[in-house]
Symmetry: C2
Subunit: 412 residues, 2 copies
């Protein structure tokens, strides 16, 4: 691809995403739906103008990392730990139930081979942290109690998903599973999760020191993006999802960061606010690319719309996908309203589901029909919940005032 | 390349560039030298850790586009036109003289074939608008009279360089030149140059309108980057250098934009300032990647340091490269101080010289020795002038107060 073509593709992605997000917002729909739709329209499903080349995918990956960085920045560790138990319940139930339901459906109803059934169960366990958090951010609800529960659960789900993916991959290649390996991976991820924010906090102290003594402009954008990239790379190196790196870096720099066990590391609200102000335009530039890429990857042309298998597969697995995620939400001691919001927020499979689907296809485990059915389930679970969440919160808005963190319109 | 490797490469590039820029600045050297050095150290010349993959190159191209966008934003069209005649003289003389000197040296002293000589002459005509403007920006002298002369001359030089490159390429492939084609290219470029800022201005009015009526955050970063990409693509499509697109977009959005022939399009200082504030972190993030990539492309391992040919080639062509660019500066009616600054500022060949060198090599026109000698000339002319400019301005600073646009340190 030559440079001018790359410029053109990026341009088309940015403009279409923004235009459709604007249209979506004016129609009362979530903005992220516009960005996903841009991908579906520009991609192989419809126009086929753009295929996600390596360079575009890299930009998209930076986009989701930065979104998670923003989520981390906005997170209050104290609140996250207060809702921790609920998050664990929601994550665990939302992981085990869809897996078992998917496995049972595939084995018993559709009579599929065990390996196919395992991968289908795995694909249903996914939670798209990107879609979910983006919708909550747009609704300014990422700081609400249910927002924190969902955030914690989605992060845990991502960890569980990576472990499961590694296990299934090992099983499909070697025919068996090495539990010692799995335990090692889990320990590394836990280590990363507890040590990364502390390390990031220490590094950020260094960055602040350089910032105070440097005359060169531009330290914060370079240093923050480097920090996010470093922790993403480190997470990957330790076997954890890369997203966790972005989240850990954001968490460490948030205004409301504190360390467990009373270790004192002064928070620096003024520095955090400068970071937020300067990172916001960068985050806003990159994140839409990610959601467009998710849309680009949903190839709906693969679906044979006339096949009865597809439709029964779609409906039954959709049911499993939704009920499985609601199971956990029903177990937590919250109001019905919160339970419903948490349940819906956990449903989107998004990019994580797509990773399972792609792996299953390229490894020759899914045939075209199963793959197409799964893509339909992923598309539906990804595209519908944002609408429902928006409707639910709009309903609430008429009952009580919003408790969000105020207008986030640019600048500030 | 997998995503984690890409993250790691980008991380290494960003951190090394920043670290060496900081070191350079503390030693009193220009920051851009630190970024170029980062490329030389990380690249094939020394460590060989990083080769500029397609994705890194694309990010670098966005970086130089955004730098030119910033240059455009800071440009006062009225001033640029006031110094226009001097710019034309500097550009023309700085184009014709190095070409003739290089051609004569190659033909008469080194007895090289005509095609080789033509390409060597061509390579000497280049002016690195990136290096030159970056140094002036860092010294806060981009708005000075000599800064405007250099800017205009460098832009014109870029246009002339693209036309010459096309001509030489045609000559090397077809053995002849079609003057009608050349005239057409020139007319297109002129058209682009006059119409693009007007079009960009009209589009920016539209963006402002959307910005006023939209509730979604993030319009400015997305819209501005899209605008820059669009004009870069358009410039390319019309046969002009892509950089011109970034410059034209910046020019149109600058606070001091006005249209010729008294066409009234109200300037919007408040909107321009918001654009500057939000675009600055993005520009600061991307531009170092460009300068690192220039350093990565300077493969000094190709040079056989013991060969007498290389040294005589290097010294004579260096002389031609420097004298050729000074010729134009001597012809303008300015003080000696200004003439010397303009002369030095036009010397860096940078990325534009590298394009000639690479084309000559891949087309089999340059053998290894000629290519290596040329790389040495490009490296020297790229790395030394920033030091001289900084020294000259430091000298001046003791004589009179700076006339720059004030501190540009982040935020504001």
């Amino acid at each position: 691809m030559d440079t001018a073509t790359f410029f053109l593709y990026l341009l088309i992605i940015l403009i279409t995403a923004r235009f459709l997000a604007e249209v979506a917002a004016r129609l009362g729909a979530p903005a992220v739906i516009g960005e996903l739709a841009a991908g579906v329209i520009l991609g192989p499903s419809l126009l086929g103008w753009i295929e996600p080349s390596e360079s575009i995918r890299f930009l998209a990956e930076i986009g989701i990392l930065l979104l998670l960085f923003e989520v981390g920045l906005d997170t209050d560790v104290r609140k996250l730990m207060a809702t921790g138990r609920s998050s664990v319940v929601v994550a665990m139930a939302g992981f085990v139930l869809p897996f078992l339901l998917g496995l049972a459906l595939a084995e018993l109803v559709f009579d599929l081979p065990t390996l196919v059934s395992l991968f289908l169960g795995g694909a249903l366990t996914a939670t798209s942290i990107g879609i979910t958090m983006r919708v909550l951010i747009d609704l300014k609800q990422q700081g609400s109690r249910e927002g924190q529960i969902v955030l914690g659960a989605a992060v845990l789900d991502d960890v569980l998903g990576v472990v499961l993916l590694a296990l299934l991959y090992e099983f499909s290649v070697a025919g068996g599973i090495n539990l010692a390996n799995t335990a090692k991976v889990l320990i590394f991820i836990l280590l990363f999760f507890f040590l990364a924010p502390i390390a990031a906090r220490l590094i950020s102290g260094l960055i602040r020191h350089v910032d105070n003594s440097s005359d060169l402009p531009g330290l914060i954008p370079t240093a923050m993006v480097s920090l996010v990239l470093f922790f993403a790379w480190l997470a990957h190196a330790m076997g954890a999802p890369e997203l966790l790196g972005g989240f850990a870096a954001g968490l460490a720099l948030s205004r409301r960061f504190f360390l467990p066990f009373g270790i004192a590391l002064r928070t620096q609200p003024e520095f955090s606010m400068r970071i937020e102000a300067q990172m916001r335009p960068i985050i806003q530039l990159f994140t839409p690319i990610f959601f467009v890429t998710v849309g680009l990857s949903l190839n709906l042309k693969e679906v044979d719309w006339g096949s009865p298998f597809i439709w029964s597969f779609f409906l039954l697995f959709l049911l499993a996908a939704v009920l499985g995620k609601f199971g956990g939400a029903l177990l937590i001691p919250e109001s019905w309203r919160r339970r419903i919001i948490v349940g819906i927020a956990m449903v989107p499979r998004g990019e994580v589901g797509l990773i399972f689907a792609e792996l299953g296809r390229t490894a020759g485990i899914f045939d075209n029909a199963v793959y197409a059915g799964l893509i339909m389930v992923i598309a539906f679970t990804t595209l519908v919940p944002p609408f429902l969440l928006k409707l639910l919160y709009r309903d609430l808005e008429t009952q009580k005032p919003l408790t969000g963190s105020g207008s986030r319109k640019d600048g500030s």
